[in-house]
Symmetry: D2
C-alpha cells in the first residue's frame, strides 16, 4: 500500500513538500497506517497569516469582480485537470470510496463554474426613493479575511464552496482544515498556487492553509481582524465558535450536525426507496452531515421495506475505498468506531433490534471497517435524537403523516430530510410550512447529495448557515444602503419638517 | 401639563388601562414628572407569554401570507387614523419634537404598506437542476415566535419595522419595549388589538407586550422556544444578547450603536450641508442611532462650515417638544445629561474646543434640556470614537479624501455615514468598496432619516442586522431548499455512481 | 328592472353624467334592454386626449414612485368603499353573477395593494463591472402614455391590473373600454377622479376614458406618441394591433384568446374535479378568457366524470345575475348566442354528442341565457381547436399522459391549463418543460381564477403578454443600463487597446 | 495578401469546406478582393433546417440546464483556444482592426462564462398564495427553435450573445449571418461542431448556419415553427421582421439602429473626453451600432474640445486592420462609402463645417478607407437625426443641460448615450427618468463598448430588445405561472363563492 500512497502524493504535487517529522501524525483510515507527520502552525505563524490575509484582502478587493471570477475559472480548469489525482487523495485520507472522492472534486469544479457566473452579478438593488431627485441603491462590498474551518468528511469540497464564493466576492481566505485531513488541503493549496501563477495578479496569501489543532482554531476565531467565519463540523465545536464570534460581532456561517430522516409513505416507489436509502444511509460510511440516520416508515409497508433493506445491507461490498468494487469504506478512526458501538448499545437498551454493525477486519487492526447497521426502534428515544457519525439507520414506524412529520422534526438538528411518496398531497405538505423544519427537504431522493445550485445548510442546532447556491454569496459580502441626493433641496423622509 | 398628559393618554385609549401603582415609574422627559407607575411582567407571566406566542405561531403560520398581509393593511389604516394621538404620546414619552413623533408614526404606516406588498411575494427561487426529472426550489417558511426588543428613542417605529415584516412572514411577536417608554407600547398594543378585532381571524396573543426590565429581557433571550431575536439598543446590551443567543443557535437581528460621520468636501453645496448637519446632529436631541456625531471637513472650507454651524447652533430653538416652535426637545433623563457632560469634559482634555452644550433650565429641575454642542477636535481621540447618546458634534479637519474615509471608518461602529460633495468621483468613491465601511452610506444627505424601502442596519459593533426594506424580510423566515424527483431513476448529483 | 338600473347608476355616481342621446347604445345582457346611449370620442377628442396624456406623463414621471403608490393606495381605499355598488354595475353591464362582479372588484383592490408595495421596489440591479473604478447599474424609468384596451368580460379588473402598475411605474393611462361595457368604465373613472382630488397632486388627465369603437381604437394604436399598448380581447383584434404597433416599434402587452384544457387523471379526486370543472367551464357563462373549454379525461374514469358533470350541468341555476340564486347569467348578446350554436352544430357534424346548450328564455326575447353544454367529442377536431366564447365544454378521452399533454398543447392558443391528479409524477410532468405549453398551468384547480401575485398571460395566439404579479411591472417601464466611470483611466471592455 | 487569407481560413478550419463556385461572392474590405463564392441555402434547405431544428429542440429541452451549460462551457474553452485565429478572420472579413477582432472573440468567451453560471439559475419565483394548501410558482421553460440574424459589423459576437443564452435556455438555434460575413459564421460553426463532439450528447442540428440573402431570411421569419427571432441590423430590416413576426405572434428581440450622442459638460475631464470620443466615434470605422455619432458640447469648452478632436482625427492611423499600427480599418464596402459622402454633402447643405472624411486610397481601388469626419453643425438637422453607418461625428453646442438632454433624446433611435462630467448632479440627472431616453446611458465613458453583464439594447427605433446580461435570458424562454392545490378544498381567488 505504501507505494500507492507515494504515487498519490506525487500526483498531487505534495510528496516533496510534506514533512515527515512534525508533531501532527496523519493516518489513512484505509489501512490505519501513518502517512505523514506535519508541522503545525505556531501562534506567531497564525498571527502572520492574519496580517498577510489582511494585506491580500486590501489588494484583492480592488480587483474587479469579473477579474476575480477569472481566477476562480482557472481554479476550475486546474481542478478538472487534477480531478483523478485529487479524488484519489480524498479517498486515501478521508476513506470515502473513489466514486465519492471524484464526486467531491466534481463539486469543487461545479461551484467554480457557478462562482464565475456570479462574478458578473453580485447584484445589489436599485430602489425607488420617496424623495424627488434622490436615488437609492444597495451595494455589496467585500468583507475582509474569511476563515474557513472544514471537517474530515468533505476535506476539500467544503473549502471550495466557501472559497470560490469568498474569492469572487473579494475576500481573502484562511483555511483551517481538519487535523485528520491536512494532506488534501495541502494538495488543493498547491493547485491554488498554480492558479495564481497563471492568473498573474493575485496578491500573496490570497488563500492560506493553516495546519493545526484546537489552539490554532481558537486563536483565529478570536481574532478581531477576521470578520467572517465559516465553520463546518460538530454542534459542540459550532457552539464554541458561535459564542466567541458573537462577542465580537463577527459573522458566522455554521454547518453543524444533522440527524436526517426520511419518511416512506404507502404510495412510495419502494424500489426507488431502497436504492435511495442505501446510498443515503451507507454512503461515505454514514459520515456525511446529510447521511440518512432515521427512516420513518408507514406501518403498511414497514415489513416490506425492512426486509428489502436488510437484504441490501447484508450484500453491500465493504472494503478499501480505492478498490472499484467497494461501496463502503472505513470509518475515519477508532473513536468513530467506539462511538458507533456505544450508540448501538444504547439503542439496544432502549429496545432497539440491531442488524449489522459488526466490524469487518480484513484490513488489519488499525483500520475500522464496519457493516452498516439497521436498528428497529420502538420509539424515537434519546439515542435516536443524537447524531452518531457512523452508518446506523434507525427505523421507526408511523400511522399518520402528521406523526411522521412530528418525528422528522422532533430532534435538535435541522439539516436535511426526505419524503418518499407518489402522492402529490403528501409531497406538497412535506415541503410546506407545516412540513419538514429542515434546511433541506427533498421528495423521492435521499437527504444527501445536494446540487450546488441550491443553498446548503440547516436550522436549529445545524447552525443556520447557508453555503453554495442561491444567494448564499451574500454571506461573504457586506451590504450598504446608499441614498444619493442630486437635487439642491433636502426633503426629509416620512415628510418631517426641520427648517433652520 | 398634567391635564395634557391625560388627554394624550385618553386619545391613545390607554388612560383606563394604565396602572398607577406598579413598581415601574414612567417619567416624561418633557417636564421630568412621573406619568405612570406600571406593573412589570413576572417570570411566570413571561413564561405564559411564550407559551401563548407558540400557540399563536402554530395557528398564524397556517394563514396564507396575503391574508396575513390584510391584517397588516388594517394596522396601517388604524395607524393613519391614530397618527396625531400616537405622535403626541411619542413626543411626551420620548421627548422628541412633535414633527418627529408624527414622522415616527408615518414610518410605521410606510412599513405596513410595504409589508402588504411583500405578503404576495416572499419570493423563493425555482432553480435549474442538473438531473433529469428533477426540480429544485427554495421555499421560505415562518420561523416561530419573534422577540422584538426596542429602545426609548424610537419607541414605536422599530417595533413596526419588525412586527410588520414578522407578521406578514407568519411569525408571532413578543415585544419588550424600553423601560423608559412603555406607554407608547401599550398604546400601540391597543391599536393592534383593535386591528385583530376587525380582522377577525387572528390567534390570541399574536403580538404581546411585556413590560419589564433586564430580568424580563434575559429570561426571554435565553428561552429556547424563541428562534429569533431582533434587538435595538446599546452595543453593550447587544453583545450580551448575541452571546446567549449564539449558544442556543437562535438568530439575531441586532441594531446597536452608531458613531456616524459626515465628510464635507471642497465642492459641497455648503448651504445644503448646514441644513443637513443641523437636522442630522441636533434632531431628536442627538439621540438617534443614526445621529451625525462626527463632521470631517476639508481644510479649505473648514472655517466657513464651522462659522455657519455655530450660527445655527446658537439660534436653534430648544424647548418643550409638544410646542410647535421647538426644534430640540429634552434628553431622555439625567443619566443622558451626565454622559454628555462627561464626554465634553473628556473632549476638552483631549484638546477639544467646545461651543454649546450648556443646560437649558426653563423646564424645571427634572427636565434635561441642553444646547447642542460643537466640539472642534485636533484628532479623532478615544472620546470621539465612543458613541455618546447626546447632541455632540465633533469637528475634524482633513486634507485628502483618503484621510477623510480613514477617519470615517476608524471607529468600532459601522452604522451610517455621509459625504457632501458636488464631485462625482468623490461621491462614487465614497459608496464604493474602498469608501465608507458602514451599512448606510449617503451622498448629500445626512446619515439619519432612512426610507423604509432600503435595508436598515450596520456593520462591526452595530451588530450586522438588517431591518425594513430590500430583502430584510428573509431575516424573519427560514429557508428550505427542496429537490423533487419526479422520475423513476435516481441519478446522484456530481455524477456519482452507487448501485445496490 | 329599470328602477334598479337607475339605483345602480346612482350608487356609482354616474347617473347624472351618462348621456342618453348619443350614438352608442348600451344594453344590459340581463334583460336585453337599453340602459344608455353615449357619445363616442371624435378624432379630435382622441387627439386632445393624447396631448393631455403626454403632458400628464411629463408631470407624473417626476413624482417619486412611492408617492405615486400613495395615489394607488387611495384608489384601493375608494374601491373598497364602492365595492358593492361597482360590483352590481359590473353584473348589470357584463351579465356576470354578483359574486363574480364583487370578485372582480376585489381583484382591483388586490392589485392596488400589490402595486403600493411595488412602488418602493421597482428594483433595478447593481451589477459587478469588469473595469476598475466603474460601476454598472440598471435603472427602470417611466415609459410614457399607456393605452389600455379592455374587453366586456372583465370590464374593470383588466383596467386595474394595467392601470395600478402603469400609474405606480410613472405612466399616464388612456383607457378604451369595450363598446359593450362603457358604463363600468365611467364609474371607475368617477372613482379615479375622487382619488385624484384626495391625492391633490395628480396631473390632469392622468387616466382618461375614451368611449368609442374601432376607429377610436385604430387612431390610438397608430399614434406614435403612445409607446405602450396593453390590449385584451380576441386574437383577431390582437393580431391587428400587433401588426400596427410593430411597424412603429411600440411595445404591446397582449392578452388574447384562450382554449383552455383540463386533464383528469385516474388518481384525481373526482369530487374536487366536478366542483372545479363546474366553476371553470360554466362560471361567467363560459365567457372568461381562462374558461375551461376542453376536458381531457382518462378512459378509466371517463364515464364516471361525464355522468357527474351531466348531473351538475342539469342542475345549475341559470337566471338573472343580480339574483343571489343564480350561478349562470346571460351571454353578452345575440352574436355570442349565435356563435355558440354554430359551434355546437359544427361539433355535431364532427361526431360530437351534445347535452345542454339550449336557450333559457325566461328573461325575454332580448336576453340570451343558455344552459351550458357538454359535448363528447371523438377527436380534437377544428371546432374544438377554435375558441368559442360561450359555455361549451368539449370532452375528450385519453389513454396515456403523453397523449393528454399533446391534446392540451394541440391548439393555437396558449393561455391556461390544468391537470387533476393525486400522482406527484403526473403533476410535476405537467408543469415541467415537457408538459403544458401554456402561460398558466395548474394542478388540482381549474384554469381560471388566477391570483394577482402571479404573472397572468399566455403564449402562442394568446399573444405573449404578462400582466399583474411577478415582474409584469417591467412591461410598463423602460430599462436603462448605466456604466459609470469614476476613475481617470478609460479601460475598454473585453481588454481592447485603443490609444490615441 | 492572398496567402494570408488562406492561412487565416486554414487556421479557422474552413479552408477545405469553403466552396469557391457559389453565387454568393464574399469580399474582404481590407483589399476589396473576393475571397470566396459560396452557395446559398435553397428554400428546400431552409425548410429542412427548420425541421432539423425542431427535432433538435425536442431533444435539447430534455437535457438539464446545467448540462446544457457544460456544452456552453466547452464552447468557451474552444473559443479561448481559437481566439487568435478567429480574431484574424473577423478582421479580414469585417475590416475591423485586430484588437477589435480579438475583443469581439473575447466577448464571445465572456458570454459563455456568464451563461454557464446562468445554467444553474434560470430562476423562477415561488410566490405566496392567498389560498390555504396552495402553492404558486413561476417556471421558465425552453421556447423552441430560435432564429438569430446577425449583421456584418459584429459578425460573431452577436451570435454568441444570443446562442450562449439560447442554448443554456434549452433552445435550438438557426443562424442567418450577414451575406457580407458568412466566413466567420462558418468558422464558428466549425468550432461549435468540435464542441458537440466533445460534449457527446448534443442533438444533430442544435446550431445551424444558413448562408443566404433576403429570401432566405424572409422564409425563416415567416415560418410559424420558429417562435423567437433575434435580429440585429438596420431599422428598415427590423421593421419588416417585426411586422411579419407580430402577425404570427412570434417573439422578437430587435437590436436596430443607433444614433448615439455624448454630452460634454464644463466640468468634464477633457483629456478623458478626447480619448473616449476617439474610440467611440472612430473605432470600427464608425460602424458599431453604438458608435458615437453626435457630440453635444457645452459652449464654454466647445472650442477647446473641437481643437483637440481635430488634432486626434488628423493623426489617427488608417490602414489595413491586420496591421498592428492601424487604428482605423476600411468601410465595409462602396455602398457604405457612398452613404457617408451623401451624408457629408447633406450636412454641408444644412450649414455643417466638415473636416476629414476624405478617402484614403493606399489599399487600392476596391477598398474603402476614409479619414473619419468631424462636422460642426449649427443645429440638429435631419441628416444628424439620421443614422449613417460611417465615421462621421456631428458636433453641436449647448448652453443648459436641459437643452443637451433634449438634443440627446431628439432623434428616432434610442440605443446608447453618454455624459462627460465631473459634477454629480449632472451625472445623476442624465441617468434619471428625466435624462437620456436610451437603453444605455453612460457617465464618463463613451456609448460603445458594453460589458456583457448588463442588458444590451435600446428603445424607440432601436427596437426594444435586450440581449446579454441581467435578465435578458428571459427573452429566450417561456414563462409559466403554476398554482398547485394540495388540499381537498377548492377555495376560489378573490373570495368568490360558487357551490355546485
Amino acid at each position: 500500500m505504501s507505494l500507492d500512497i507515494n504515487k498519490i502524493l506525487s500526483a498531487n504535487g505534495i510528496a516533496a513538500v510534506i514533512r515527515q517529522d512534525g508533531p501532527l501524525k496523519v493516518f489513512t483510515p484505509v489501512s490505519g497506517e501513518q502517512i505523514a507527520s506535519l508541522n503545525v502552525a505556531s501562534a506567531a505563524e497564525v498571527e502572520q497569516a492574519v496580517i498577510t490575509s489582511q494585506a491580500a484582502f486590501a489588494a484583492w478587493r480592488k480587483v474587479p469582480a469579473p477579474r476575480r471570477g477569472e481566477l476562480v475559472r482557472l481554479l476550475g480548469e486546474e481542478l478538472r485537470a487534477g480531478k483523478d489525482a485529487l479524488g484519489q487523495l480524498v479517498s486515501l485520507e478521508s476513506g470515502k470510496i473513489l466514486q465519492e472522492g471524484l464526486g467531491e472534486v466534481q463539486e469543487m469544479i461545479d461551484i467554480c463554474d457557478f462562482a464565475v457566473g456570479l462574478s458578473r452579478q453580485l447584484y445589489g438593488l436599485n430602489i425607488a426613493s420617496e424623495r424627488p431627485h434622490h436615488r437609492m441603491m444597495e451595494s455589496w462590498h467585500p468583507m475582509g479575511p474569511c476563515l474557513v474551518v472544514t471537517a474530515f468528511n468533505f476535506p476539500v469540497a467544503v473549502w471550495a464552496w466557501n472559497a470560490a464564493l469568498a474569492l469572487v466576492c473579494g475576500d481573502s481566505v484562511i483555511w483551517k482544515p481538519s487535523e485528520k485531513t491536512p494532506l488534501t488541503a495541502l494538495a488543493v493549496q498547491a493547485i491554488f498556487e498554480r492558479v495564481c501563477t497563471r492568473f498573474g495578479a493575485a496578491p500573496a496569501g490570497l488563500n492560506q492553509v493553516l495546519i493545526g489543532g484546537r489552539e490554532c482554531g481558537e486563536q483565529l476565531v478570536a481574532d478581531a481582524r477576521i470578520p467572517l467565519i465559516s465553520a463546518t463540523g460538530s454542534t459542540r465545536m459550532g457552539r464554541a465558535i458561535a459564542g466567541v464570534a458573537a462577542q465580537r460581532f463577527a459573522r458566522t456561517i455554521l454547518e453543524l450536525g444533522g440527524n436526517n430522516a426520511g419518511i416512506v409513505c404507502p404510495s412510495a416507489d419502494l424500489d426507488l426507496v431502497v436504492r435511495a436509502v442505501a446510498f443515503a444511509a451507507m454512503g461515505t460510511a454514514g459520515q456525511r452531515c446529510t447521511t440518512l440516520r432515521r427512516l420513518i416508515v408507514h406501518a403498511s409497508v414497514y415489513d416490506q421495506v425492512i426486509a428489502a433493506l436488510k437484504n441490501v445491507y447484508q450484500q453491500v461490498r465493504i472494503g478499501s475505498p480505492l478498490s472499484k468494487d467497494s461501496m463502503i469504506g472505513p470509518l475515519i478512526d477508532k473513536a468513530a468506531f467506539d462511538a458507533m458501538h456505544s450508540a448501538l448499545e444504547a439503542a439496544v437498551k432502549d429496545g432497539g433490534k440491531v442488524s449489522g454493525g459488526e466490524r469487518v477486519t480484513d484490513a488489519g487492526a488499525h483500520a475500522y471497517y464496519v457493516r452498516p447497521a439497521l436498528v428497529e426502534m420502538p420509539a424515537q428515544t434519546d439515542i435516536v435524537r443524537h447524531e452518531t457519525f457512523a452508518p446506523i439507520l434507525y427505523l421507526l414506524k408511523y400511522e399518520t403523516l402528521e406523526q411522521a412529520i412530528a418525528l422528522n422534526n422532533g430532534v435538535p438538528q435541522g439539516l436535511s430530510s426526505s419524503i418518499f411518496t407518489g402522492n402529490m398531497r403528501e409531497a406538497e405538505l412535506f415541503v410546506s410550512a407545516l412540513g419538514s423544519d429542515c434546511g433541506i427537504a427533498n421528495v423521492n431522493i435521499g437527504p444527501s447529495g445536494a446540487e450546488i445550485g441550491g443553498a446548503f445548510g440547516g436550522e436549529k442546532e445545524t447552525g443556520g448557515g447557508r453555503e453554495s447556491g442561491s444567494d448564499a454569496w451574500k454571506g461573504y459580502m457586506r451590504r450598504a444602503t446608499n441614498t444619493i441626493n442630486y437635487g439642491s433641496d433636502l426633503p426629509l423622509a416620512q415628510g418631517i419638517e426641520f427648517s433652520v
